[in-house]
Amino acid sequence: MPTQTLSDVSSPEAVLSFHDVTVGYGNRIILQSITMQVKRGQVVAVIGGSGSGKTTLLRAATGQIPIQQGELSAFGQPLDTHDSRRLYEQRQRMGVLFQQGALFTDLDVFENVAFPLREHAQLSESEVRERVLSKLQDVGLRGAAHLKTSEISGGMARRVALARAIVLEPELIFYDEPFAGLDPISLGVIAQLIRSMSQTLGCGALLITHDLEESFAIADQVYLLGRGSLVAAGTPQALQASTDPFVVQFLKGQPDGPVAFHYPETAAFQEWLARQQGGQS
């Protein structure tokens, strides 16, 4: 696996840096020895199977869970979950698209997108309206501004959530499964929007995704998670040319290889099965 040096990680262009990071919940370690970074203007994709720890990585990067070891920094400052004031300052420079959208159900589409502006920006009502409608235009939902969240489809909700994530024009944007539930037309437009946002605003983008085709088309750097750590990292072309059996199996979607399709049958499972069969006889 091509690895980065410490000097890469502390690069002044880096808006997010992981150096030898371990994350988990209590005693349960989910990921370890994670070293990666996102630079300004760069789109970085993190791919991996279900349960490989992609969402845990995102939670650590946004300060929702503390790291257990290593160094994690955003905008050149350590991301410390215990220093809530600095964490909130760092978060004001981030945007997050949640997997399920996480729209506020008591607000309509317009107010959902306007929410970060009303909380953090001192803008007049006409400036808020102009900015919100412009972001809704970018995701193709300007005409849906007046609708309630209960009146829009799941795919539309994710596009509204995307508009909300980018409305403050943050320096670092996290996208958790941005392509899930989108129709082919929306998918292409959103993928290009993510790419163009990074170019025009110069913001870093971290994509957590299963969608290899779209993410490889727009990403500058790809990290593959598996077996509780980083399995591979590099440009999309480098990963596609890789002969590592794990990478080959994942990219080609092969059922046989180092990654088992079937969940392992543990002693606890055998015990449960014996109880079930005993109960039937």
Binding site: T62, G63, Q64, Y88, E89, R91, Q92, M94, V96, F98, Q99, Q100, A102, L103, F104, T105, D106, F115, P116, E119, H120
Partner: protein, 258 residues
């Protein structure tokens, strides 16, 4: 025997931990009230939501409680030839006890459950987490305005309950049974003391407002983010909220009227 003692110990420990985190939650609400109260619009919005939507059930219940007080009061008082004191009996019963207590019980069932379910579902739908990563404190933005709205709405609703109840008692006693109207109102005016009766009733309803709203918000905020978790939290709000109101009522009555 050891297992039995262990179970008692575990239950006691769990109750103490629960009580401790509830007290910590109360402290958090008070500590973060300043910033939230600088945006009174959020509180006003919630007073409208919590208060206005509870209005119908409070008014209808108050009216029926007033009807029953009028009837029962008249049947009892006429035995002693003092049916003219009906107005005083109805007013004191409502202002001192039934107004604050029944309103708080109805408030726990109507607004409390709604608050718990709303906060619990916001948590399950990652809305609170989304707020946090947007650098917006969900305690200040969502919980504190609802907390103060509950405290403001409760005494107002209790006052309306008592008012409608007195009118209900008047309707039954004076209009239907024929108790003297002058005696009904004058006995009430002479017998009800502003500080001892009305103010104490208001204090009770404020205390109940704090207790019920706090329990509802705590249950929603600490609910497991699943449909079953939210459903259990909602049930706990009604059960704990109602028992707390009744327990506090006994304590407050003993303190105020002893």
């Amino acid at each position: 025997m050891v297992a039995w003692l262990g179970a008692i110990g575990a239950a006691t420990r769990s109750s103490l931990v629960g009580l401790g985190s509830f007290a910590r939650f109360f402290g958090l609400m008070l500590a973060r009230s300043g910033a939230a109260l600088r945006r009174p619009g959020l509180v006003v919005q919630q007073v409208h939501y919590i208060g206005n939507f509870s209005l119908v059930i409070i008014l209808v219940s108050g009216m029926f409680v007033g009807f029953v007080l009028g009837l029962q009061g008249y049947y009892t008082l006429q035995r002693y030839g003092s049916e003219e004191a009906l107005g005083l009996l109805v007013a004191l019963s409502l202002v001192r006890e039934l107004g604050p207590v029944v309103t708080a019980l109805l408030f726990a069932g109507r607004a409390g459950t709604s608050l718990t379910a709303e906060i619990g579902l916001m948590k399950a739908g990652e809305q609170l987490a989304a707020m946090e990563v947007m650098a917006v404190d969900p305690v200040r933005r969502v919980l504190v305005p609802r907390f103060w709205a509950g405290i403001i709405a409760m005494p107002l609703l209790a006052a309306l309950f008592s008012m409608v109840g007195i009118l209900g008692g008047w309707g039954v006693g004076v209009l239907m049974i024929g108790v003297d109207e002058g005696a009904f109102w004058s006995q009430m005016q002479n017998g009800v003391d502003f500080v001892d009766d009305i103010l104490n009733g208001v204090i009770k309803s404020v205390v109940f407002g704090v207790a019920v709203t706090l329990i509802a918000l705590y249950q929603g905020y600490s609910a497991r983010p699943t449909p079953e978790g939210v459903s259990r939290a909602t049930t706990r709000t009604v059960v704990l909220g109602s028992l707390t109101v009744l327990g506090l009522d006994f304590l407050l009555t003993a303190l105020m009227f002893s």
